[in-house]
Amino acid sequence: MMADGAMTAGWRDVGALEEVPRLGSRTVTTPAGTIAVFRTKDDEVFALEDRCPHKAGPLSQGIVHGHHVTCPLHNWLIDLKTGQAVAPDQGCAPTIPVQVLQDRILLLLPSDLP
């Protein structure tokens, strides 16, 4: 995660850190699909496309533990940092670049990339 204020060009402010519950998630809707924003117990924030690689379950609705989320539909375990399913399951939920600056959550959406 970046902390340099000069590096925020193109990043979108989607809300305050405290609006996402610890060990929980909120969603950001975009024309290209829903993004799940997760907050871990240690206040790290991760963002993934809100689709489990298995059957497109909404990962935002899963239980967050450590740096993982368990998909609510069939209990696939997804690594929040990489979006990868934990073996033996295989697949990947695309990650979205995210940073927290002064308690605001900033996303770099694919559509905003130059």
Binding site: V28, T29, H65, G66
Partner: protein, 816 residues
Amino acid sequence: MNMINIRERLVVIGNGMAGMRTVEELLKRDPLRYQITVFGAEPHVNYDRIALSSVLAGEKEIGQITIHSLAWYGENGVQLHAGDPVVKIDREAKTVTSESGRVEPYDKLLLAMGSKPIVPPIPGLELPGVCAFRDIADVEQMIAASTEHRRAIVIGGGLLGLEAANGLMKRGMAVAVVHLAETLMERQLDTAAGRLLQRELTERGLNFFTNGQTEEIFGDGRAEGVRLADGREVPGDLVCMAIGIRPAIELVKATGLDINRGIVVHDDLRTSDPDIFAVGECAEHRGKTYGLVAPLYEMAKVCADHLAGDDATTGYAGTILFTKLKVTGVDVFSAGALAAGEESGELTYNDTARQVYKKLIVRDGKIDGVVLYGDVADSSWYLDMLKSGEDITPFQDAILFGQSVVAAMGKVKPVSVADFADSYQICGCNGVCKGTITEAIADKGLTTLEEVRLHTKASASCGSCTGLVESLLAATAGAAAKPKSQGMCRCTDLTHEEVRGRVVAEGLKTIPDVMRTLDWKNPDGCHSCRPALNFYLLCAWPGEYRDDAQSRFINERAHANIQKDGTFSVIPRMWGGVTNAKELRAIADVVDRYDIPSVKVTGGQRIDMLGVPKDQLPAVWRDLNAAGMVSGHAYGKALRTVKTCVGSEWCRFGTQDSTGMGVALEKMTWGSWHPHKVKLAVSGCPRNCAEATIKDFGVIAVESGWELHVGGNGGIHLRGTDLLCKVETEAEVLEYCGAFLQLYREEARYLDRTAPWIERVGLDYVKGRIVEDEAGRKELHARFLHAQQFAQTDPWEERANSEVRSREFHALAEVA
């Protein structure tokens, strides 16, 4: 020497499974005869080498596979020199010399050096990144490589190679398996089963290069791949050699002992020198060497007999080998011959849809070989008949359908562990028969699986006979048998009961408190333990514990049922299944207003609106609330429905007002959280139209009162209720029901329905608490009512009317 040493000296070369099992068996027979010294090449205590696959696959930790702790050696007076291999044996002087220069005299010597990986003479073996799969150091190297590198190559598609490949894949590596033969595990499986196995493992993500002879490992400063004889190249940063093993006999080559492929032993496990014994993979018996655990343990017993008693008469007669692959979810079994010869025939069963394949080789009416793929439930039965040489002609036409079918035809005795002969082998790994287990249970008063494992070794290795051992324990120890002590989840080794006990005893009142005090292995638990802890705390501290929404499964957090497309279903409560025009009109209006795609009547006499997007839930609820409807908790581990029939109010057979009784029960119980969902029903007469006998708590009206039934389940495992008792008044129905539910809440494990809970604790126990103990019943009922004070608030109303609580339902932001 200034002291006469009255004990004979036994020196054991090899601190592995075979040598140490022999020592253990010897100590059982005569703990005082020898002063025992053990030399081991690895710097570890004796561990379960078989379980290295599980360690590699991340299913076990190194610390969990120790067989003999350092303390055990001390307590048994066994002197251990670990990490100090013996380099010389002097038979004349009767001494051994270790690498560090230690010279140890012996009266008896036991050779148990095990085996070494076979390494073909190819270039590149010295490169970093090349390893074997034999000991802890290898596994540590493989685990380390899996964190730094992505691609692995396993050379060898036999038992060992496939377990290595599976483990590396579970560690996140892309794995290629290079195998010399055309099909996998060709020594244990026929071509058909080998192909099925390859297909399954390919689907799981392994890549195979069969007919592949490795010519060279190439790489610049580190392994980068292998080159095959036919020119194919396979890239990889880790190359694991798992072709096979050969007896480790270098040490004895200069001693003049008879050696062949292994160290030649007689039936009493003596080598050509009567003071020197050999067991395990380094021994060769009747021209055979072994690489599986069962024969090692059989040898250990016989060897211990002869070490303990000079006039012992037992003999080792060889072992009929069988194979199981330890890859979770892949069921493979084989024993005996693989294919029919001139004098034998084959029976095959091939279900291509289910991927089940079974083959028996039959010779003179007896089983000569077994190959099973996909369904190995009958493996012990077939193996037993293979060993006993039983005549299978009377049921040969049905034998492939398994023991239960053959038993149902009346051709063999029904399948029950109680019917097995005492000589029936339960645990193949450790060669433990039924009689040994039942005797140990009875003589030593064993009550848990762990104790049985400790005392008999049954189910202590690969664990595939655990179910049988548990059944035996239950059948032998009866009510004294305790369920196997099993951790709640991977975050703790404590059982549900232990955690609940400590929550109350130590006054733990939050999830972080519990995890900290009870040393949880993962700091914030997992999706399996967090909901359980949330319930246990809620149940233990009613009114005090603050529900943790993030530890609730989504359905309970959103108070609606998530569907496969991510939308939700909404089911309002209909008390006793009774509704009216106003409610129906409100439901119809909601369906129209929010364009809800599907409306369905549920099995619990309510109406389900399906396909509601999450962000519309609060509005839907607000409208339903306005018509007086509340959450039906159709999404929770909670009181669901009370199903009723119309009873004496309308029905010409009705004996009591079952509808009114049902409504009263639902008013008392709604909103209560439980270990699992709970369903009630009340029927107005024994015709039982409300199907009360498949409910958790079912009430059936009779002329003289009410019959109370418990523990029914109409789900996966259909179970009819047990009759708890008969009562006379409605007040009694309510009291018994509240008490029963509270007992279930306080004592069942999270995710146990009442049916398996009652099966476990027994109906007599429940009767004892609810029917016979009047004071106890009243206390339970009072505790239930106390908890209900805090539980009976409509979660829909709370969320429809609170901005903070409805946050859950709305997006954090919308990007146009």
